[in-house]
């Protein structure tokens, strides 16, 4: 185990035991979560839309409230092409090194836009958006990774609530602080699991 995502880091931060159960013993038994499914659907459709696909047919099959949410979301400014759309659903893989440990960060950006020299990472949230985005672990990981991918410190992450269309955001601050925090969490994992 040497590759971490935001979700796995969050769990490791919360409880080492739960992390081991889920990511090492695979004790997940796929508990299905209806609201997560709904979030996945909306994510999927937004991504199709951003890529320029015609989503009318699928949209018409959605249940009413999901359809309304999607329409409301698509009315947001970001979809009006003020910023330059770069990519959606983009996976990343970052190699990190600290003293003797090598580890990897992985994940997927919901959407990436560019406003002049600034890269903006969008993250759609089907439930709550972080109230303190600067401190949120996701911001830490995403801003760190985005700065590596685009080779710039001019990066922002924006959280959009699909329910309320509200938004919070965080700007890139300090690479070392970010890395320290990530490493701090990874160190909670007993060495024998860290390959």
């Amino acid at each position: 185990m040497n590759t971490f995502s935001v979700n796995s880091l969050k769990l490791l931060d919360k409880s080492t035991e739960e992390f081991i159960n889920k990511y090492i013993l695979h004790l997940d038994f796929l508990s299905s979560n209806q609201s997560a499914k709904r979030g996945e659907r909306l994510h999927g459709l937004i991504s199709y839309y951003l890529k320029g696909f015609d989503i009318e047919k699928i949209k018409s099959s959605l249940v009413q409230d999901e359809k309304e949410l999607l329409e409301k979301t698509l009315c947001l400014d970001i979809f009006k092409q003020k910023e330059k759309f770069i990519k959606s659903e983009e996976s990343f893989l970052i190699k990190c090194k600290n003293a003797n440990t090598i580890f990897y960060l992985t994940g997927r950006f919901d959407a990436i836009f560019q406003d002049n020299d600034k890269y903006i990472i969008y993250d759609w949230k089907s439930k709550n958006i972080p109230q303190n985005p600067q401190d949120d672990l996701q911001s830490v990981v995403y801003l760190y990774c985005a700065s590596k991918i685009f080779n710039t410190k001019n990066v922002t992450i924006r959280y959009i609530s699909l329910e309320s269309q509200g938004m919070t955001q965080a700007e890139f601050k300090d690479e070392n602080l970010y890395l320290e925090r990530i490493i701090g969490i990874i160190e909670k994992l007993p060495k024998k699991y860290l390959a």
């Binding site: 997940d28 508990s31 047919k57 970052i94 190699k95 990190c96 990897y104």
Partner: protein
Amino acid sequence: MIFYSTINSNKTDILVENFLQLVKSGARTDEILVLVQNGRKKKDFVEKIKNNSPTGSIGNLNVYSFFGLARNFIEKNWVCAEDMIKYPNSPVFAHLCGLEASQYIFKNCIKEIEFKGYNSKVNLLHQLLRRYSLIVQNSLNDNEIKIREKILHESYGSEVREAIKLYKLKTLELRAFDYLRQVSIFEYLYKKVKNPYRYVILDDGDEITPAVFEYLKYIQKDVKDFYIAQDPYGSSRLGYLSATHIDFEKFLNQRAQDLRQNTPKIISARKVFENIKNKTPILSQDTILKSFVRRDEMIFQTIEEIEKLIKNGVKPNEIAVVTPICDRYLRFCFNKIKQDVFFLSGSEKLNQNPHVGAIIEVLKLTNTDECYLSPFVLKGILLEVLKIKETEAIEIYQNYAFENLEYKKFIKEYLQNIKNKDIQEFLKFLDNIKNLPLSEQLYEICTKYTQKNLQNQSAILKLNKLAKQIVDFEEIFGKNFEKISLIEQLENTIIAENPLSEDEIPKNSIIVASAQKLIDSEICVKHLFLLDCSNSDWIKQDIGMLYNSWVFQKSWNKKEFKPDDNISLTLDRTARILYKLYLCKDEQMHIYSSIYDTLGLENFGAIDKFFESNHKSNTDNLTKITPRDDQKPVLDYKSGKMAVSAVAGSGKTTIMLALILKLLEGKIIKDIKSENIFVLTFMDSAARNFKERIKQNYPDMVELPQISTIHGLALRILKENNNYTFLGLDNDFEIIDENKRREIIANATVGAGLDYNKTDLYERAISDFKNEGTDIKKVKSPSFKNIFSLYDKEMKENNYLDYDDLLILSSKLLKTNPDVLKYYQNLAKVIIEDEAQDSSPVQQELINLIGGKWGNIIRCGDVNQAITATFSNSDVKGFKQFIKENYNVQMNKSQRCATKIIDLANRTIDEALNIAPEAFLDIKMYPVEGKNAKNSDAINIKLFEKPQDENDYIAQQILKLQENYPKKTIGILLRSNWQINAFCEFLQSKNIKTKKNIDTLHNNSVYKTVLAIFNFIADVKNKKNLQKCLEVMLEIPRYRDEKEILNYIQNDDFLSDNGAKYTLWWDLRYFLLKSTLTPMELVLEIGDFYFKNTLEFANVSMVYSIVDKIYQTHKTFENTLLRMNEIAFRINKSAKFYTEEETQNEGTIRIMTLHKSKGDEFDFVFIPQLSADNLGLKIEDIKLKDNSKFLQSLKQKPKNSDILKREIVEENYRLLYVGITRAKIKLYLTCSKTFKMYSKEKAQKPCEIFLKQEAK
């Protein structure tokens, strides 16, 4: 760039290097497509990129397996595919599901289509899926399919097309796509979406499928550079797995670089490849060849060898074992090694893991209220899931078993009354989750009851797989499926079939794998053991009724498909697999094979044929036989047809063995190999005997001559080279044994409203009818028609064949397929038939067909000992004719019998000439000078007034003989099986110990012990049952001193701790608790515990196979046990147990039927109860059985009762002759003038011999 390189070289590193170079020179990672053969290699490739990349962003990797490519493409671009689907309810994502869900859909599609005349309903789905797989992976269009239907003369073409079409529509409607269906969606989709790739890196280019290659062709114009690794000798996945040879040099119009080095490994692998293709035997320094008689010997030898290697410092991960038969037996044996063993193969089912099995049972319980549960399963739940204390668990389930005996009780109702907090909580829990969706139920059960630790990881991974499948179903069907039937389908999921689910290989284990898995995982070890090399499973069956993996290749361009095509293509693929296997070993290759498989059936030979042993036999060891004058002509045989008429005791077996050995030495027919010698015996035991004796003479001989019964030969002809397909047979056909056949006929008989007792009759009638080959319409008897059609239906639906079918079909195959016939005719340079007097017409026909080219046919036997004609299909006339028409050697000297006995035997022949002239050929027996006993009291013919007198006389004589000659053997020969039991009881009452020669399963110690312990486990509460089980167990030497346990159980509950002073108590309790495993695993546990001797352990594997077979149809432990009890005392026709050669025969008394005694000899022989009823020697003494007329009516030329009676008299004479000639020193023929029936004495007529004696 194309380069040639092999597996287990640095080719992947080179490709990774290329990848990193591309990125370094400015290519974006998302422009580079990397394709590898499977998921494991994908992981490996990604890891290598990760390790070799500098820190920072690595990018967005597109590394896919051939199947993963399609999946990923659909995930990214689903919306485009959705646009073309006309069905409503567009989902945001497609359901990219496992095979289970799509099989469920396919199953329902087939229901709507009638496959007329298609014989195997079990396999239909499987066959269709295979065909579909071939169509997809070869991207065949409708026209290409129709051409192939024509080539194969398929009669079901349109039905198959319709079924697949329906399936495609249905999956489209549900948007449910398994990995195959994904490929076909992908094919449509990539033409609609802009290609994002500018570079393609292809590892394993030799294993690419046409579907993936079509994609590469399609995007070629946009691709700047290709990097392809290919092995020109590779493509081990040819055939069903659809790899295809691509000429990449032509495709890219550039020359390949050859990176292969001439290392010894590569040179040796290439030599293997070429030798197989050229049919030259492989003789190689790095290959050790060993052949064993039994499979267990082979397995144990392997384990011993492995342990030796490890002792010498070889690491476990430097050893791998490859076999196509990774069954429970093999797993069990390998798990006894002290090292970790990882099984990377096989068709393990989900419920094979005891914890997963128990969880599945809980899931079933959740969803049914009123259900019964097998008490055995209940125990599994109590111990495995609820972790109830052992003693309490036993108590609870034993009580349930006990209550179930009286009347069936619903399990939940029963548990409600148990005062145990865990059980009550469990019931409440089940009630609480009852209304949840299945996936959530499983989640709750697992979360609550699955132990969370690494030891349990394999169960956890399997439960995750189960969860994934359930989620698939819920996503696809919503609530539209029956929970219980889904669980039942899923519990039988074969894990390995899904190419996307692969477990990680642990680093320090010995690997046991299938060939393809080892190759696919590029495992390289120092020592590689290939096991079961003589088993035909090594050479995969790539043709079935509805699919032909060769013709359905994209590249197939011939107008015809011939048996030879199949043989040569299969050979080519096998050469490639072995080539790659040789690339998986650095030091030694061990090629091991065995003559018999686990069931004791012979292996026909497979890849062992490619190898040659470098140790030549030392000819000094060869058995030296000095023939007598009358035997000599047999060994002087040169060629052509020869009959050998051998009287009883003339040393026929020895001479035949000598003849075979002389043939093997090449001294008779030039250039003869062992495969050119065909020997047919009447009994399996005789075939075994020949083989073992040849093996003693040639310990290193890998391929023995074809020595078998006619059924063994017929099975080989049907199975070898997939020949059965030319009969329109499906490859899953199963040969049923006599027990199974009887079960089906009994069901049909009762089903037709007849009495169960008629089963015997219909067993015979159906066999007769089949062998006659008459049209069923011409049969008059409505009940026969009815029963036969029920039987026939059951057989067809399950794709069963009985022994008659085996013979009839193989002869039909040879007669209708000249290519197949030619193959065997070329092979069979000489055919030797033993017991030719018992040969059936079909057998004689087969011999003539196969011997048609070389004409070297030797038939041995004694027409005067033909004793099976009246109740089997044997036909003594054929052999008589053969003797008349051909060179006939008379082996008429015998040193067995005392001269007086020889006189009696010869006199019997003379007397019969007057009454039944056809009974004998006038071949008299002569003594060997100076060898035979000359005692004057050799013959004792005695007639008594009462049966008691007769019995007492015999007992008295036996006691006297035993006293005077304690080392001599005694045989008591009776007319029928029921007489044996009665006579045994009588002798027992006189304290005379006998060996019964009734071949029942219960006579085998392994079966007996297993059955006793099973019965014990099933019902500990029942004292009678307990007593019976304990009595059997007490026969085992280690418990000899514990007879008191029988008293203990009379007064005490067995389970109370008071039993703890007996080891037997502890051992039984151990098995009681062990039994959370399946019955089959329990058999292995019991076997391992009690049967240390290898011969006995070989029988364990047979009992295991018997139980496995029964469990498959009877499903629960209890029903399996019921059936095991049922067949225990019937004549055993299902297993061919290994027996110790009777070395300690001295002083034994054996009781058997006259028929069974053939081939045996005893110092003293008693033939009691020789009444005219039992052995009529005059026409007027013969009473035909009621049903003989009915049996005749099924024949094309029915015999009238006069002829039938005459034939019986003839055979009775021969039976008497056989009985007489068993005796070496003394013979006692006895009878009484009355017999007892229901305590009344009735007069009976003694057999003719006594009347003559009296007259004298």
